[in-house]
């Protein structure tokens, strides 16, 4: 027997079928990896920490500035399907709990974030080998991946809430870009752990792969943010009259 959650996830998958939205998650990390590796090779006399130097080149701009906006684009797309025409009527009258409907969307956003992160790591490994790095692949990369993914899910929750409340497709993306830029400031001021858009970069150690961060604090804060923003979204869906265009 399929639970309401599984049914919601399947429904969302059907809505996204043949939609080329995943292409963006493929293209942007590719650009970043290509130019990052090129920059690494050109400055190899200065960048001596091999995998760690290459990691910064690959992820610095991508994680701080573009991944939040990219996740924001995906979340905007997920809600745009409901915001257009009379889809809110069918969405809210679906014979499933609102929480399951929301979790269906969150699962899709989280899934693309995980796949996007896997792609970033795959590119990192391949480019590293192509750039001639012979040392073993850093073991810490697994931790970067898990912490980064958790941070990405936090951004998914924030952006899903914004795109739910704001009917415009573009405005939440602008907010995500601004959030990512402000994340630079917050991380610099040591408030990164308390700011949703900074958790992804901190988790990925985008600025400094040797950075020591408290993994437990990052995990607890991320789960806290996920819970708060998910609860706010479900609350909004339950309490507010949402009309179709």
């Amino acid at each position: 027997m399929r639970t309401p959650y599984i049914r919601a996830v399947k429904a969302e998958s059907l809505k996204l079928k043949r939609s080329p939205v995943w292409l963006a998650f493929f293209a942007l990390p590719l650009i970043s990896a290509f130019f990052g590796t090129m920059n690494y090779k050109l400055n190899i006399e200065v960048l001596k920490s091999e995998w760690y130097s290459l990691w910064s080149q690959h992820t610095l701009f991508l994680c701080y500035l573009f991944m939040p906006a990219l996740i924001g684009t995906y979340c905007s797309y997920l809600w745009r399907l409901e915001h257009t025409r009379h889809n809110w009527n069918s969405f809210l009258t679906a014979p499933l709990p609102v929480t399951s409907l929301y979790l269906g969307k969150l699962t899709q956003a989280a899934r693309i974030s995980v796949l996007g992160n896997l792609w970033i790591f795959l590119l990192f490994y391949v480019c590293g080998r192509l750039a001639g790095i012979q040392s073993p692949f850093p073991k810490e990369a697994l931790e970067w991946f898990f912490c980064g993914t958790l941070g990405a899910v936090v951004i998914c929750c924030v952006q899903l809430l914004l795109s739910l409340v704001i009917r415009s497709f573009a405005v939440p993306i602008g907010i995500a870009l601004a959030g990512g830029i402000l994340g630079l400031y917050m991380t610099n001021q040591d408030y990164g752990m308390n700011y949703p858009y900074s958790l992804y970069c901190l988790g990925m150690r985008a600025n400094n792969p040797n950075m020591e961060i408290s993994t437990s604090t990052l995990t607890v804060n991320s789960i806290g943010f996920i819970f708060v923003f998910a609860a706010l979204s479900v609350f909004y869906l339950r309490r507010h009259e949402i009309s179709s265009n």
Partner: protein, 250 residues
């Protein structure tokens, strides 16, 4: 004029102005944050340093801001399914022109606000002397032209695709490409690299002394061609957009 007025009526209560203010506000916060406590040497180089940091801010934020602006203006037509009204009340060319002018007015307001802020910030921080008006004026005009070319490109994409994800991802990709190109060379023939060609200040960094020397740029012939390319893009995107818009079916 009637069509332009209609364009502004269409976006009434869409809070496009507020969105633009918020996004440009982030630029201001960034500029406020960078070099917030200048020492004596930084005050001496303040005005030139300001012109040096502007392209970085613009190259990161402006392509996305332009894609948001264009998407908001085009989305009105998609959501209202108004393409079926083309050729009925006004000529499609006039409608497209009104959309361009409407966006251009927003861009002009953004650019003026940005420059007034930069100049006010410079005086508030007590930078030595006054801004070099020749370079500041050139930067203003070229920045405006870059924004306009990107807006026309984004408007074209936003009108073409119902799925607004495509133009917005193009804007984000453009931001990223422009930022990365900045570390390769200080000019580009691509539309997103226009801000680099428009930069009036170059930098020399001595790895031994670790001293940064900023100086006003002398354009080489290739770099001048890259500047001219900004204006060529405006013509290309305007013509292509108008052609596609007038031939668009509902």
């Amino acid at each position: 004029m009637i069509t332009l007025r209609a364009e502004f009526k269409k976006i009434k209560r869409k809070k496009i102005g507020l969105t633009m203010c918020a996004l440009i506000g982030v630029q201001f916060v960034w500029l406020l944050w960078s070099g917030s406590r200048p020492d004596e040497n930084e005050r001496l180089q303040g005005w030139i340093e300001m012109l040096h940091s502007l392209p970085l801010v613009s190259v990161i934020m402006m392509p996305t801001i332009m894609s948001v602006l264009a998407s908001r203006l085009a989305d009105v037509e998609h959501k209202g399914n108004t393409y079926k009204l083309l050729n009925t009340l006004r000529r499609p060319g006039a409608l497209y022109h009104a959309k361009v002018v409407c966006g251009a007015l927003f861009i002009l307001a953004i650019s003026i606000a940005q420059f007034l802020f930069v100049i006010a910030l410079g005086y508030a921080r007590g930078y030595a002397g006054h801004p070099e008006w020749k370079y500041y004026g050139t930067t203003f005009v070229l920045n405006l032209a870059c924004c306009l070319s990107l807006y026309l490109l984004q408007l074209l994409l936003s009108m073409l695709f119902f799925n607004q994800m495509i133009p917005l991802v193009a804007g984000l990709g453009g931001s990223m490409l422009g930022l990365i190109l900045m570390y390769v060379k200080m000019y580009s023939f691509l539309p997103w690299g226009g801000f680099l060609s428009a930069a009036q200040v170059n930098m020399d960094w001595n790895p031994e002394t670790r001293i940064i020397h900023l100086y006003y740029r002398e354009y080489s012939p290739v770099e001048l061609c890259a500047v001219a390319m900004i204006f060529i893009w405006i013509v290309v995107f305007y013509t292509a957009g108008r052609l596609l818009f007038t031939k668009k079916e509902a």
